[in-house]
Structures are given as structure tokens and as C-alpha cells.
């Protein structure tokens, strides 16, 4: 795959080129509330892409907080359904953080599991992701603990690394190659490779110091210790779901029907979170996850046990946003450290861990 170089100025020009070519350009930029967030680029104002992680992840670009799935109309003796076309504009993300790009590749598995999520894949297909090797590592980052790194290429089509005067550019996929080819006048011969390697190593070393645990190894302990007292974690949790709102891999949604008068209405899907009691509340009033201890356990289990059992991947990219966002001061790094300690001190279980696996639902709408 080809390597190249682009100046900061040319990157700005490239952003304009892409917009003129009819592509939506998504970059980290100040949101309406003044925070750095991924969002549509303001024409001609592309500044340095680096720095701290955007406050929320990139998932909203692929799984919007609300999305119409279909409209229904009440006819005389019938209900007429009109499926909504997914909005999947040709898009280029410039300056995605590698952890956020990796999350998309991880989520592809569940989105193509028992049901092929058309809107998700329509947007995945229409989008080229240009990541920036992360230079905003802080004390909550732990991507190296889930097998990633600040310069991971997973899920990215192009990887940029900030070097003196601009960015080292590496194409990683056919889409990435195509992007470089289509805009080749903006790129020059690769340079700064040694500096890039040095910076990327420095960032990786910095993350490593935050959490000396391989979070992929806690899977088996979790599977065998569902009732462990460790999971009495819930006291300081507000059950607010801020963690899920900022998480790149939390993908649960709620489907609601919103009527518009008597004529019809819209079925929408909206972000949801397993941290609220309503998430599992049955119509009977019974709630299988009846307290916050159980809900937090679910969050840890889903990320580090259930998903890896089913898909061979950890449902976490170590971005650390949950720890930064938690109003109650919960910290996943601390929890992983504790679990790792318990894992090391526990005897290896004699019996293999049995996890019920649901067979895929056959005859889906594939």
C-alpha cells in the first residue's frame, strides 16, 4: 500500500476538494456547545486535527442517536408500510482517532450477526476513514490493554501521523488507495517516517503505563464468576448511562413508534443503555437486572466476556471515555485492575466454562 505526505495546508485544501466532489467531510471540530466532537467540517476552517479525544465517539456517524426506520400510514382497512431509505451520503472522516475507527470494525460483527443491519452497512460502505495516529493520550487511555494502540490500523482506510510540517500518510485499504489516487495532486512523496515511528512509539509507551493488564485475559474469570462479590460495584453509579452515551462500542438501541395524529407515524430507533432499570423491565413488572450492581456487571460482562465468546473480540477499545464522563467517578481501568488481580489469585477452574450461546436466528431479513 502506498505511503505519502501531506502538508497541514493541503489537508485543508483536500477537505474542500472532497466537499466539492460531493462528499460529506466529518472532522473533530467544536460542537454547538463548544466541545470537540466529530461533526461536519465547516468549509475552509480545517485546523490541526490532533489533540485530546473528541468528547463522544465516532459511532453517531454510523448509528445516529435517532433514525427513522419506516413510516406507516393508516389506510381504510389496512396499514401501509414505507421503509425509510438509510441516509448514507458519501463521507470521508478526517482525523478519526484509531480507537474510534477500530470500534467500527468490532461492531461490524454484531451488525452482521443474526440480522444484517442495512443502514449501518450502507454508511460503512459509503465512508472512507482517515485516522490520525493519536497524540492526545491521557491518563484514562488503555487501548494497549485491549490489543490496540494509539496507531492501530484496525477499521481505518488511511492512517495519518503528525510529523514536522504535516502528516505521513499510509493507505491501508482499497478505499484508502482510491482516496489517495483521486486526490494525488495534494500529496507528495512520503517523508518523516522515522519521526512518525518515534512519536507513535512514545504514545504507545504512554498508554501502556496507564494499565498493565491484558483485558482480553479476564474473559474466562468473568465467565466463571458471575456471582462474585466483586460485582457489588453499583453504589456510586447513578445509572445515568453517560458511559454508554460516549462509548464507541455501546450500540444498544430502542425501537419506538411515534404516531403523527391518526394518519400514521414513524418507527424510529434511538440510542439506549443497559444502565437504566427500564432497559430490562418486563411488562409484568419483573426486572431480571433488579439493581445497579447487576446492571454494571452486565456492562463489564458484555464488553469483556459475552462479546468475545461470541465474536472473538473485546467490545472495548480502551478509549477511556467512560472513565472521563462518569459523574460518579467510576473507572473501568480500576475495575479491570481488580478483576485481573482476582484472576491471578484464583485457581484455574477445572471444568471448562459453559456459556450459553444463542443459535443465530434463521431466516433473517438478509
Amino acid at each position: 500500500m502506498r505511503k505519502a505526505f501531506i502538508t497541514q495546508e493541503n489537508l485543508s485544501v483536500l477537505s474542500g476538494d472532497l466537499e466539492r466532489a460531493g462528499r460529506k467531510v466529518v472532522v473533530p471540530r467544536p460542537s454547538a456547545t463548544g466541545r470537540m466532537e466529530y461533526g461536519a467540517a465547516q468549509s475552509g476552517s480545517l485546523t490541526h486535527l490532533g489533540g485530546a479525544l473528541p468528547a463522544r465517539s465516532l459511532k453517531a456517524t454510523f448509528l445516529p442517536p435517532t433514525e427513522a426506520l419506516l413510516r406507516w400510514k393508516n389506510a381504510k382497512d389496512d396499514v401501509v408500510l414505507e421503509p425509510s431509505e438509510p441516509k448514507a451520503l458519501p463521507t470521508v472522516v478526517l482525523g478519526a482517532r484509531p480507537c474510534d475507527a477500530a470500534a467500527l470494525a468490532i461492531l461490524d460483527k454484531v451488525m452482521d450477526w443474526d440480522y444484517h443491519d442495512d443502514p449501518w452497512f450502507a454508511r460503512r460502505k459509503a465512508t472512507t476513514i482517515v485516522s490520525l495516529a493519536c497524540d492526545g493520550v491521557d491518563s484514562s487511555c488503555f487501548c494497549t490493554s485491549v490489543g490496540l494502540s494509539p496507531d492501530t490500523t484496525k477499521g481505518s482506510d488511511v492512517l495519518l501521523t503528525a510529523v514536522d510540517g504535516g502528516y505521513l500518510v499510509e493507505a491501508l485499504s482499497e478505499k484508502g488507495e482510491a482516496l489517495l489516487e483521486e486526490n494525488k495532486t495534494r500529496f507528495t512523496a512520503a517523508r518523516g517516517e522515522a519521526q512518525a515511528a518515534e512519536r507513535r512509539k512514545a504514545a504507545t509507551d504512554k498508554v501502556r503505563k496507564n494499565l498493565a493488564v491484558d483485558a482480553r485475559t479476564v474473559k474466562d474469570w468473568l465467565g466463571g464468576n458471575f456471582e462474585h462479590p466483586f460485582f457489588k460495584l453499583g453504589s456510586r453509579c447513578h445509572a445515568c448511562g453517560a458511559c454508554a452515551a460516549v462509548c464507541p462500542t455501546c450500540h444498544c438501541f430502542d425501537i419506538v413508534d411515534e404516531p403523527e395524529g391518526l394518519e400514521g407515524g414513524t418507527r424510529r430507533r434511538n440510542w439506549d443503555t443497559c444502565q437504566t432499570s427500564k432497559f430490562t423491565l418486563h411488562g409484568s413488572g419483573h426486572n431480571p437486572r433488579n439493581d445497579q450492581h447487576a446492571r454494571l456487571r452486565q456492562r463489564v460482562m458484555h464488553k469483556f466476556h459475552i462479546y468475545s465468546e461470541r465474536f472473538g473480540e473485546t467490545l472495548c477499545t480502551g478509549c477511556g471515555r467512560c472513565a472521563r464522563a462518569c459523574p460518579g467517578g467510576m473507572d473501568l481501568l480500576e475495575a479491570l485492575r481488580e478483576i485481573d488481580k482476582l484472576r491471578r489469585s484464583s485457581r484455574p477452574s477445572a471444568a471448562p466454562i459453559v456459556t450459553p450461546t444463542n443459535p443465530p436466528i434463521s431466516g433473517g431479513a438478509r
Binding site: 460542537s31 454547538a32 456547545t33 463548544g34 466541545r35 466532537e37 468528547a55 463522544r56 453517531a60 442517536p65 435517532t66 491518563s139 484514562s140 453499583g234 453504589s235 456510586r236 453509579c237 447513578h238 445509572a239 445515568c240 448511562g241 453517560a242 454508554a244 452515551a245 460516549v246 430502542d254 419506538v256 411515534e258 424510529r268 434511538n270 440510542w271 443503555t273 437504566t276 427500564k278 433488579n290 439493581d291 445497579q292 450492581h293 472513565a323 472521563r324 464522563a325 459523574p327 460518579g328 467517578g329 467510576m330 473507572d331 481501568l333 480500576e334
Partner: protein
């Protein structure tokens, strides 16, 4: 600090309470809520300008995990005490079921993660009009009360800017900030006064508030949240601090606080016997807007 720990130790040792809800060192440079259930655990307790959380939130009847720890003693700042008074006023907590430890607070940081020291620039906005006095609810007072001396709240200046705009400009402003709202409900869940077992926003028949985070649903949510908190909100600003989208919710809560104060002469009070303005009325309440 020693005074606080000693007190907590004593309360736990003689079984006056089952849990002391206070603050402890968290990960990194921040503090976080702490739930000390044994005299030994009382040694973890700290209090300083990083202790931003309103611990009265944990006394809400929705917190079953906290309630299961036994009778609580709670560490409160002057602002948090008003939320506790609200819970008592609205019959969610019985006064005799909680031991109130009032800590002297000279103001807390707007962003404890910044690692900066407390200063005029770094102080949480709500501390600017606080008198710092110990609450009259206190069963125990720790530390000498001192009034924080910082300028007037910045939210008031922003309110004045908004007030100077035309109505369509304000509508455009709220549209732009509400477009960031994903209806994660964090503002509701962290609020000490949002204690309903089932929120109006979670009801679907009829669905008064659309749960979808489109602008129409978001306007309905933020306006009705403002209405339900009017005269009850104590201005602790946990909602804004916790909002993952950074929506300036204090603009709305502060505005409603001013409306209630100007119209009904009510300010958030730490006296549970002062009736909330929405549960009371005067025969001569102004009605200039009614034909």
C-alpha cells in the same frame, strides 16, 4: 479531615448509621463518592475543593443499592443541603432517617480533572453566590464555615445576553444546543430532585414527551424538565456537569430559579418546612398575562 474521619468512625462504630456517604480519592487526581460501611473505611474519607458531586442524589429512593447499606450519614456542602431539604420536603427522605454532616466548603472546582487549584477562574459557577454557611439541617458541623469570595455567577451574564436577543434568535440558539442532545437522560438520573420511580418521559401511553432525540422531542423534554424542576431545582448543577454533550443546562435551571424568585419570592432553601412554590399559592399572585 481528621475531624471528619473521627466523626465518621464514631458514627459507624456505635452503629448510629450503617453507611457514611462522603468523598474519597478516586483514580487520577479526582475525588469521588465514597460509601464507608465500617470504621476502618472511614479512614478513606476526604473533603476539599475537588469534591464536586452532590451526595444528596444518593439519598433518593431510587438508589436501592445505597438504601440497602443501612441508615446513612451524608456529607453535605451548603448547596447539597438544599437538595436534601428538598427530598425531606417532598417526603422522599424522613429527617430522622439521615444523619447530616455539614462540611465547611470554600467553593469547589468547575473541573476537578484539570488538576488546577481553586481560584476565581477555576471555581464552579454555583459557588459564586454561596454564603458558605453551615446548613441548619446539620447534625454535625465539620470545619469553620467561610464565605467563598468570588465574582457573580457567569451564568447570569450569559442569561442577560440571551435576554437581549430577539425571540427567534433565542429559538435558534436552543435549537443549536439541543441538536447535540441524544436524550441519554443523564441530566435526569444525576438530579437529586428527579426521584420519580417512573418519569413522565418514560411513559408511552400517552407519550407526552417523544423519546426520540430529534429536535421536537428535545424541546419537549427540556421544557418539561424545566417545568418539573421549577421551584424545586436547587442549582447544584449536577445535570450540566454530567451532560455528555455539554449542553448549558444551567441557563435553563437558573432562568427558572429567577422566575420563581421574582414571581413568588422563593429561593432554594435548606429548610424543609418552607413550602415549595409549586405546592403553594397566594391569592394575589400576579396574573398580568391572563386575560
Amino acid at each position: 479531615m481528621n475531624e471528619l474521619r473521627q466523626l465518621a468512625r464514631k458514627l459507624l462504630a456505635d452503629k448510629t448509621v450503617g453507611v457514611v456517604i462522603g468523598y474519597e480519592e478516586g483514580q487520577g487526581a479526582v475525588t469521588r463518592p465514597s460509601f464507608a460501611t465500617s470504621p476502618e473505611q472511614a479512614e478513606k474519607l476526604v473533603f476539599d475543593a475537588r469534591c464536586v458531586q452532590n451526595l444528596a442524589s444518593y439519598l433518593s429512593p431510587r438508589r436501592s443499592t445505597v438504601r440497602s447499606l443501612g441508615k446513612p450519614a451524608v456529607v453535605v456542602k451548603a448547596c447539597d443541603a438544599k437538595a436534601l431539604a428538598g427530598l425531606i420536603r417532598e417526603a422522599q427522605v424522613k429527617r430522622e432517617d439521615v444523619v447530616v454532616i455539614s462540611v465547611a466548603c470554600g467553593g469547589v472546582l468547575a473541573d476537578p480533572r484539570s488538576g488546577k487549584a481553586l481560584s476565581e477562574a477555576m471555581v464552579a459557577d454555583r459557588c459564586r453566590d454561596c454564603d458558605g454557611a453551615h446548613t441548619s439541617l446539620a447534625d454535625h458541623k465539620v470545619g469553620q464555615a467561610k464565605a467563598p469570595a468570588f465574582g457573580s455567577p457567569k451564568v447570569d451574564a450569559r442569561l442577560a445576553e440571551l435576554q437581549a436577543m430577539t425571540a427567534p434568535q433565542r429559538f435558534a440558539f436552543f435549537k443549536s444546543v439541543f441538536s447535540e442532545c441524544t436524550r441519554c437522560n443523564v441530566c435526569r438520573e444525576v438530579c437529586p430532585m428527579c426521584f420519580c420511580a417512573r418519569c413522565m418521559a418514560d411513559k408511552s401511553e400517552p407519550q407526552w414527551i417523544e423519546s426520540s432525540p430529534h429536535l421536537r422531542g428535545n424541546f419537549a423534554w427540556h421544557m418539561l424538565r424545566a417545568m418539573h424542576l421549577a421551584g424545586r431545582c436547587v442549582g447544584c448543577n449536577e445535570c450540566e456537569r454530567a451532560c455528555p454533550a455539554g449542553i448549558p443546562l444551567s441557563l435553563i435551571t437558573r432562568k427558572m430559579q429567577k422566575v420563581v424568585s421574582e414571581r413568588f419570592g422563593y429561593s432554594p432553601s435548606d429548610d424543609p418546612n418552607v413550602p415549595a412554590p409549586t405546592g403553594a399559592f397566594r391569592l394575589d399572585d400576579a396574573q398580568e398575562f391572563i386575560r
